[in-house]
Symmetry: C2
Subunit: 100 residues, 2 copies
Amino acid sequence: MSYKEKKVITIGVVSELTGLSERQIRYYEERKLVFPERTKGGTRKYSFSDVERLVDISNKMEDGMQTFEIRKMEQKQMRQAELREKMLRGQLNAAFNIRK
Amino acid sequence: MSYKEKKVITIGVVSELTGLSERQIRYYEERKLVFPERTKGGTRKYSFSDVERLVDISNKMEDGMQTFEIRKMEQKQMRQAELREKMLRGQLNAAFNIRK
DNA sequence: CGTGTAAGGAATTCTGACACG
DNA sequence: CGTGTAAGGAATTCTGACACG
């Protein structure tokens, strides 16, 4: 796994990197927008990817979007990405695998 | 600056990532082999690059090398890198900048 | 020299709740 | 709904020191 995806950053540092309060960061987790890992002791650990996501969320919140709208939007993008991949696979199969 | 160089990881996580004890990690800092940053409160923060360096140090220690030898070796590599760059610059100057 | 450990304290994080709106 | 805050406790980290070798 790349460094960008590795969950190693504590919430205090994430707060500094994003400009968000720890309260906000925990709340966005409660609303299923970010998914930190935990140490054995229970301390949250985030990735740089999470930090990017949080900055993105922050911008959308400033634009007046609500958390459930953001979540819905991300899910939609997820579904579309899956759809694109599925279609691509289908075309590849059709092209190379004419007969079963 | 790239994610790899950003100092964001606390010593506990570094310990897990490297397999080194916190004691060892702090000692290698004392011996000038790693240079973490600090939070306002004084907590150490490391980069993924530091983690790589620590793994490297760990291997050298297992090979029976002493901390001062490791430091000396790294300094030598540093000097050689500088030298190579200086020579490269000189050649570029000679090629493109014939007259002052 | 390199590392483990117990010690005491400080910084960091956690959760659940009340508040405002 | 989204966020601030005070509260109490637990996890994490820090430093300086003693120990072994």
